[in-house]
Symmetry: C4
Subunit: 210 residues, 4 copies
């Protein structure tokens, strides 16, 4: 099995998990893993497929522009337009894997706090790579759009190496990590944190948290 | 395996999925696929069966009036009364498959916005076949009733080719597409959108969205 | 396989389903089927067992007083104290099966409407055996208690043959039907209806529904 | 299979169950069973592993200080820092098993009632080992922190033998019992109770319950 196929299999397995959670409705969302750095080579799930039914073949190799590279096993397969943002995130952050899903809580949170969602003094932040105490974490929120360069610029403008996620308003969330499992663990924890934030919103406002 | 049996198997598989989500309680809801156009022939799930346990036999062939056609393998099986609305939707919209389920979010949304549920500037609208920006989508809401001709007239009066869904107030939702998977993908996305709308209702009202 | 074992197997299968939904936490809840009428003989799930792991042996045969009858395969097994209410419901209603679970929505609904939960003009009422229009359904709410005769009296005082359910306040719900599947279908529909009622509570109050 | 491996297998099975419920996100949470009393020996799940994928080897034997004992099959495996609180709870309460998960409802409840969450007159309290009537149960809430001795002192200061749980604010919950299943049953019931309390919070406040 080639490295690309192995990546495809891992992407398919993780996608099926998220589809089962209702986080990849229709054909939405995409996952990627970095296969090379110089030049950047990212294996991304194909566009337009049911994310609960991917196979190890449903993967495309893209470069730093998010476009399919010339020489690959399935030249007919099309990467998602969002592959460009995956590649940008991988390049800027150094992450080995990027997850983009449409979990509901992040999008609801961004609707409440469009300038960024603040999280602080919560144990689950450790699962996001931050401290459980006295460490204000702000999850950036960027405007939605269809031009991945514009989104990439907005992401990069708000990028902090210690905050491996960005919410796209009225759209979904990107979370990254060293590998797929690492990124998933961070996503699992962040989704919990954002859901907690939304469910306790009025308590938080009484205490003066933005 | 006959075309009708193949359709029955696909209907059973999709029904089991929706039953598992709690969207087909008791024996409620029904799914259909179009098998012929001239005259219209629609394969519909049978009435009165647990939708989590259908087999490929639990299907009835109906005509444009929603009544079982004369010549079919299981003349004893009864189509749902709602088969008439399935056939009407298939005839008017040209859809190849229609899904009717009792997901909660659409019915709650219709309770809040009985004149139609407006959705706009949400990425997930692409999974419903619309644009993510500057495209006001109004999901029609029609009154519930037991006469499928009345419901069909109400559906047709509000029909727009670019809006493949209608909510029946205090009842459930119909979503359609080219085939069962296409219709399901649209439903998955629309259910997310309606849940988002309900959960952010007060934010929306502050911003002046109906 | 004896009739009691067959009943036990059916009870175990349905219990596992409800346990998976989180409606039978710990060892709570119990299900029953009527095996004889004269005298009344009811097969009830045993007390104190994890309801997700019952076997066909985890069943006790009780009489109209809810106590284990003298002659049965597992004389050491103890029926739930609530078996008395199962038997009472079976005797009064003529039902063939009774389901008692701790789904959350019914208990929350009873907290809001302690004098009975009104449901009207909702399609899902058909799955509960009532009409979708112009048919006011009131789900009775009775006070919790440990004396099954007191609960049985309260149930019987509010009993209507067309309303096959009763909520025990701050406790759970009983739903019955001709057989286990029938009772389950009614419960599935009623749980949806009560959840809908709770989620649209403020809309309902604006419209003057109790 | 050694006693430690048997414990590891049981811990892995229960962990997978909680992971499936979303109560052990990322690598968070830990479970333990007591293997000896004099001196105290507790088998605890290892730190840093996906709790949905543990094997019978992913277990560490710790003493009353929560540190790994010298002689064990996998000396390279590291117990969670929280093992110290597991051991403290086991020592103080005499419990045979302790469960620590990050279910959402307990943390939301603690945000509303930071001085303790009161539960009373609810049938489900029986599944937590208390009475269904006239028995005020207060689930203690202690401040979060990283020093397990401080948390242990706070736990012990609020310990009552009849209340086998403590919520760590903005963190998660600990529940204990005679064995893993007993502790899980109590957790299942308590999670239901706390969710009920949160969902009916405003009703409760109107009635003067704290």
């Amino acid at each position: 099995m080639s490295v690309l196929e192995l990546a495809g299999r891992a992407l398919a397995e993780e996608s099926a998990r998220f589809a089962g959670l209702g986080w990849m409705r229709g054909t939405s969302g995409n996952l990627s893993v970095v296969l090379g750095r110089d030049p950047l080579r990212v294996a991304v799930t194909v566009s337009g497929r049911d994310k609960g039914e991917l196979t190890s073949d449903d993967v495309v190799l893209v470069g730093e522009d998010g476009l399919a590279v010339a020489d690959q096993p399935h030249p007919d397969k099309v990467p998602s337009a969002e592959a460009g943002l995956h590649a940008r995130i991988a390049a800027v952050s150094g992450a080995g894997a990027v997850i983009h899903v449409h979990a509901l809580a992040p999008v609801v949170a961004a609707e409440h706090w469009p300038d960024g969602v603040e999280l602080r003094d919560l144990e689950m932040l450790k699962g996001f790579g931050r401290a459980a105490h006295d460490d204000l974490v702000t999850i950036p929120v960027i405007a939605n759009g269809q031009d991945m360069r514009v989104l990439g610029d907005a992401f990069e403008a708000g990028f902090r190496a210690d905050t491996p996620a960005v919410i796209v308003a009225r759209h979904g969330i990107y979370v990254w990590g060293d590998d797929l499992r690492h990124a998933r663990h961070r996503l699992e924890c962040l989704e919990w944190l954002l859901r907690f934030r939304v469910e306790t919103r009025l308590v938080g406002e009484e205490r003066g948290v933005r």
